[in-house]
Symmetry: C2
Subunit: 454 residues, 2 copies
């Protein structure tokens, strides 16, 4: 009879009071972001039309710890600290000697890790007197998180949602409305970028790149409006480090330290939030053997097959140039269901660490990820988001390896959110409509052509 | 700056080890269930085709505490104990001196309180060698909970889902599939009851009563199969008492005791699970002023407008006769979105307590409940299920009364689940397609005609 503990939670009073900034501890500095026109390192004043100064400072800060404002903590406390689970039933089902822990971010109001940064971004905007924010969203995880954060600070939020998702995935759109955000399909007639596209293609299904262009255009053109991004940038990763800090503290209390940390990556913020608070131990040689595995879709293989070079963050080339592994800003990923992983680039911090050999990357096929998610749900109960299923896939693979080698490794899995709003994806899987997508070598060559010259 | 605590959780070790059985403490005994044919008090052996003996015993037991088996606790621990929240942001938004606490059951894998009993029922069936269970489901909360419980104990689960919900609410159907259950639309060609209806009406949208008939018919006709019910019966309410026990223990730790307990009622199990562990204090005169308010839809006003008499639990009249407030087993509720509250009857325990004047009942309109849910989401973050919005409505009303009278009442709200799978209902609300439904006096007269003679 298993009466051993399966959940570990910090007391509310033990919540992290600081974000951890890895820029303080990198063995080599991060290559700077470049201005899209001049291609010179970008200056803080170049970004003030989009972001509040506090976030711009955080983007380049090298302070190791940045204090979390009380007003942000007051909101985070609605669902944080989050639970660390020991996956005892999954371990048994796999007959593995490995110990599997997972930190679950699905208990937040929108059901993912995204509000960890949305709340902070909304707060700093409000503090600077900004009462209106635009953003884009694909499947709607980020849009719903920012809508929630807007409700917390009485900020008007306008979300440009990729039209095909707006039509096909109405649930997250309605969540945004519940929290009071204005969610419209992109391309729209409300921006020049949108009108240009619609003139040529009235039924255009939209793309994330185009939605970014619309959101940025509106923010730049209105003094009362800023723009907000849900991943990729340094300050976004910074805000997510509460995940890893909580995990580390909880594991310490039970005398555990992970041998392997696993997470899925789209822009990279959830996984970075988990592993960054551990990586100093590896850099400093305290835990040199720590394996950090980022998992991406085989059909959007940014880290495993893209080159490492400067590229734009958006399709239209309006954003600063970031040094990253990239499939080219013109790359349109196939319609895989893990919408949060359909991005041509990756957070510069993750790319830099991969380039330095401090983390590794693995690509997995869509069908394998859904099977992993189903296996997980049948033992642990939680139905996870299609994005998180990528991390579960590799976790199961590693646990099976341990069964074969007899190693009692400790695996720490970053479980970014629940899949209750993504059941259409599971439906497609069960009905046999899902498939794996190829990413042929020619496409990588094409991607190289679309890269900007720096 | 609000840095006061908003969440209270028991340690895993403090989880209730016993269910609380109110039958031990009733001032008058509960009227017995009657055999549908003989109309004599039902005997345990009349129920063995449907339920395992342990559950039949629990149905009539007058032991005050019934031990929760270790195997059940091992599963409950995947998400229990659940969190008690202090709704500080809602209190502020309402400018009320009232203290509002809510116990949230949305963190379970299926997102509601239902698995508290589904897990226990699956366990006792398994223990008796039963590997197959049928059940019915409307919107899918119960079906998904039993599917999850089936996955935990390796039991085949077959769910007859009301066809209109099967077609219109695919998300919960897919959740059932993820956990391995077989979910088919009702009416089906797999039972006599289903075929009879389809012969007359091939496009029949189905009803909960009919789905019960199909599930019961299959269970009765197969030796290897039992049937499971998600509310109404005594043993179901018993299993839900972990909710109230946890709440009581947490409130004791902070020297609080509720003045008012509020919950929504369909069959009544969630709310009973919350208030039953408190009601002995009222019966014994320790807290004589404790107000216990059950909230139902104005369009399905079982407790507020139905007569108190014997009626069948299902439309076809196959189940035992239960003494309850009822709108008549032939009553078909209007298509309100709180599917879990569309039931003609009510748990006999709740009806008995209402009849004794120990609890009270209130009916609210659909549109008012959605507005309450939105107000709640914008301050507390959580988007709650349409059912739970009924309880939120009355909680807000009571808190506003406190603002007017200046009373600092302590309100305890039973929040049964999240609404992430019910966003279509919110969509209907925002688009103006939702309305209130009338329940005219003539219908009550009609209902009285359909009641069986006892």
């Amino acid at each position: 009879m298993d009466r051993e503990r399966v959940k570990y939670v910090l007391d509310e009073k033990e919540m992290p009071q600081y974000w951890y900034n890895v820029l303080a501890d990198l063995p080599e500095p991060l290559p700077p972001a470049l201005h899209p026109q001049t291609k010179e390192p970008i200056k803080p004043e170049d970004l003030t039309a989009l972001f509040p100064m506090e976030l711009i400072k955080q983007e380049v800060s090298t302070e190791r710890y940045i204090e979390i404002p009380d007003e942000v903590l007051a909101i985070l406390r609605l669902w944080r600290p989050t639970t660390l689970y020991r996956a005892r039933r999954l371990e048994k089902a796999l007959k593995t000697p490995a110990k599997i822990y997972y930190k679950y971010e699905g208990s937040s109001p929108p059901g993912s890790h995204k509000p960890n940064t949305a709340v902070a971004q909304a707060y700093y905007n409000k503090k600077e007197g900004i009462n209106r924010i635009t953003t884009e969203t694909g499947a709607g995880q980020w849009g719903s998180a920012l809508a929630f954060a807007g409700a917390c600070f009485d900020i008007e939020v306008k979300v440009y949602m990729v039209r095909i998702s707006f039509d096909q995935k109405p649930y997250r759109r309605e969540m945004m409305r519940v929290w009071g955000a204005d969610c419209i399909p992109s391309p729209s007639y409300q921006t020049k970028s949108g009108r240009n596209v619609l003139a040529k293609e009235p039924d255009c299904p939209g793309s994330l790149g185009l939605a970014i262009s619309e959101a940025v255009e509106e923010a730049v053109s209105r003094d009362d409006t800023h723009y907000s991004l849900g991943s990729v940038l340094n300050h976004v990763l910074l805000h997510q480090t509460v995940i890893g800090q909580e995990s580390k503290k909880l594991l310490e209390k039970i005398d555990e330290y992970p041998d392997v940390i696993i997470g899925c990556v789209g822009g990279g913020s959830n996984f970075a939030g988990m592993f960054l608070p551990f990586i100093k131990d590896k850099i400093d040689g305290i835990h040199p053997g720590l394996k950090i595995i980022s998992v991406e879709p085989a059909s959007c293989p940014t880290l495993t097959r893209g080159p490492y070079c400067y590229d734009y963050g958006d399709e239209a080339g309006m954003t600063p140039l970031l040094k990253m592994f990239t499939l080219g800003h013109g790359f349109i990923p196939p319609p895989l269901h893990a919408g949060g992983l359909r991005y041509h680039g990756m957070a510069p911090i993750i790319c830099h660490l991969l380039n330095l050999g401090l983390i590794e990357a693995r690509a997995v096929n869509q069908l394998d990820t859904f099977q992993a998610g189903i296996d997980f749900a049948r033992s642990e109960g939680i139905i996870s988001a299609p994005e998180a299923n990528h991390a579960i896939r590799v976790t199961i693979d590693e646990a099976i390896k341990c069964r074969e080698t007899g190693e009692t490794k400790t695996i720490l899995l970053a479980l970014s959110g629940h899949g209750h709003v993504d059941m259409a994806a599971y439906q497609a899987y069960f009905s046999g409509k899902l498939k794996n997508y190829d990413y042929p070598q020619e496409k990588i060559q094409e991607a190289l052509h679309s890269l900007p010259k720096v």
